[in-house]
Every structure is written in structure tokens, then in C-alpha cells.
Amino acid sequence: MGRASQIVYGALGVVLFLAGWEVIGQYRLAGLTWPPLSTVIEFLGTSSRWPLFGRALASTMSSAATGFLIGVSLGLVLALGVHLLPRLRPGTDRLAAMVNAIPAIALGPILIVTFDRAGTPAALAAIHVFFLVYVAVSSGLTAAQRAQQDLLTVLGAKRTMRLKLLEAPAALPAFASSLKVALSASILGAILGEWFGAPRGLGVIILNAMENFQIPLLWSAVLLAAGISLALFGLATWLERAVHRRFR
């Protein structure tokens, strides 16, 4: 399939999807709780609501960004640590996998006690991000080819030198790929974290709108959240391609 027809078909698919959303909403095929797309967009476009969405968005984004930075740093540090001390690796792998398997609803109460309600979204985002980055980087660091390792060792490169010249660059593509998934994971973690009584944020709007039957508000907030993760995903895909071109 040519690139042009790919774009045309893809656009057609998106348009049909949006049209389907509108039609289902207009004719109430899915009941009263499925608003037409135009209603949701009109709701989002009303300027009197912008401060509300703006505040929520800023809060969620700053939680996600904080969580993202903490999670990425933790994941990188721990992956480097187990790379330099391989004996610690099996235990750390298990620990990371288990932390990732703790249900979010159980983490919620623990995080509230530890970081209070306002800090919980960032903490939950950090945990999600940490796992993705740790897994990708710790396996990426071992991706360098054996022969290249041996060459550097024979030439007298020390451990840190080998890491800098060979292993770290070899891990970059995996790191970039993990950042891509981690970005959406950080938004998800922040919104989930807001469900445990955060003072403001998109997650708070989503949950309150569900409970109070404010259907256009509910869909607007969800659409906003989805739009943001999509935009970040697109940005990260572009970044990932650039890194893969350079380092592979």
C-alpha cells in the first residue's frame, strides 16, 4: 500500500469513527449517557468552562510530570545499579515486578498516608513509570554485542569506560521506547491517583461527573485526558524514531 493511500484510508477510518460517535449520540442508540461528539466539543469550547478545565489539566499534568521525572530517574539509577552489581539483579527484578503488581486501589491508601492526598497522583505515576523504565533499561544495557565488549576490554577499557562508550548508547533505543509508553502511563497513574481524594485534577472531574450524572462533563474530561496522552504519545514516537535512527 502506498503512503498516500495509507494516509487517506487512515483519515477515512478516523472520520468514520467520529461520525459513528456523533450518530450514536444524536439518535441515542446507546442511551442517554452517550452524548454526540458535537455536544462534547461544544461543552469543551465554552470559554466560561476553560478555567475549570485549565486548573484540572495543570494539576494533572504537573503530577504526571513530577511522577514521570521521579520514575525515570529511579528506573535509570536502579537499572544502572543492577548492571554494575549483577548479583543484585534477580532479586531487584522480582521486587520491581511485585511492586508493579500491587493493585492501584491498595497503593492508594498507603500513598495517601505517606505523601498525603495531593502527592498521591505523582507517586502512583512514578511507580508505573519506574517499572517500565527499569525493565527496558536493565535489559537494554545487556544488549551490546559480546564481541564489542571483548574488544573494549582487550583495549584496556575500565568498567565505567565500557558503560559510557558502549553499553549506555546500546541501551538508548530501549530507553526511548520505554519513555514512549511511560508518558501515557504517567498520565494514567496521575488520574488514577486523583481518585483517592486529590483536591483537583482531571481524575477528580471524571469521578465527580460520573457520580453526579454530568454526562457532557464526564466525556469532556475523558476526551481531554485521551487527547493529552495521544499528543504525548505522538511526540514520543517522533523522539523514539530519531533515537533509533541514530543509535541502531
Binding site: L16, A106, L188, I191
Partner: protein, 246 residues
Amino acid sequence: MTRHGLSQIWGILLLFLAWQLWVTAGAYNAIVIPRPLDVLADLVTDPSAYLEPTAATVLVAVLGLALGTLLGAGLAIAAWTSRVLAGMLTPLGLVFSSVPVVCLIPVLARLFGYDERTVLAVVAVITFFPCFVFTAAGLRATPPMTAELFRSLGARRAKVLLRLALPAAVPQMMIALRVTAAQSILAAMVAEFLMGTGGLGNLFAVSHTDFKMSRAFGASLVAMVLSTVVYAATARAERRVRERWT
């Protein structure tokens, strides 16, 4: 315990030890955070309380997985038969796989009502997109020249699908299963927590409001172990399939 075993689990032991010490030293009330030993004690002394919720969560997760896989694979096959459909669906599939599905729970709850159907829908939606993306990729990844061989031998489209494309897609579908199966238990639990429809999520919610924190965390512990076991099992199954198939 063998040295090998200890090298695997020291991290987890350390975490539990830190938890126990943290709660004891911080003198948190047992209503806020239970001690890990109390949680284990509750699990051991009253296992029957966990039995039914666990079965409910596993059942809804399995049904949701099956439903999502069926829909995802079905749509992938539809996309395989038609170039136009494939061109239309592939970007949508990619778009949706980056949407935070758990955030959709409130929307689904409003669409399906506050009951098990929503929990089922959540698991199905989570399973659906990865299954569609991976199966579609697998259906196209037939070994080189085999499609030409089938065509020159005069095989019908349905036969090519059954004998060539679907078997070629199985390893990819296993990846989708590994990605989603463990996730489905945790997602079901979040949905049950919000819906209050039985299962481990509901056990957590009810015990939490009754200040039975040991039981609430016991429910989480069960879900955690379940999802870890499911992940290990699906990862092993995926490896097996990959070794046999390729």
C-alpha cells in the same frame, strides 16, 4: 532455603520487613495501615472469606479476556481480508492503544450500569486493542513466499487464512495475552472497587469502610499474587509457543 531462591526473593522480603518496621516504628494505627503479619494472619485464619471474591474476579477477568480476544482477533481478521478496512482500522487501533483505558471506567459505568457488565467491559476493552494490533501484525507476517505458494496452488482465501495466516499469527497473539492477562486482574479489581459488584475490588472497598484493614490488604495481596502468577504463566506459555512455532 537455597541460595538461588534467596537471590530471587531478597527484594520482596526486604520490602515486607521495611513495611513491618515502618508501621511498628511509625506507630500508625492499625486502622490506617495494617502490619504485614496481621494481613497474613487474616489470610490464614479465614481463607473462606477470600474464596468467593477471588473466584468472582478470576471469572470476570477470564470472560473479559475471552471476549476482548475474540473481538480483537475477529476485527484483525476482517482487516486482513480487506485492504481498505486494514488501512482504516490500523491507525485507529494505534490511537486507542495509547488511550488510558482505566480512565474510561466511569464512562463505561454510565453506559453499562453499576454492575458486572461494566467490569466485564473494562477487561474486554483492555484486552481488545492489544489483541487487535498484535493479531493484525501477525496475520501479515507470514513466512516469505508461503503466500505465493498457497496462491499458485490455487488455495481459497479462507484456506489461506486457516492454514497459513492464523497459525502465523499465534505467537503474536500470545504476546498480546501476556501483555493483557495480568493487567486484566488488576483492572477488574479497580472496576469492582468503583462499581461495588463483588469480587476482590469490592472486598477491598467493603473492608476498607469497615476499618478491617487486614482484610482489605489481604484482598490486595491475593490480587497481587494472582496477577504475578498469571504473568509468569502467560510469559512461559508465550515462550513455549514461540519455540514450537518458529
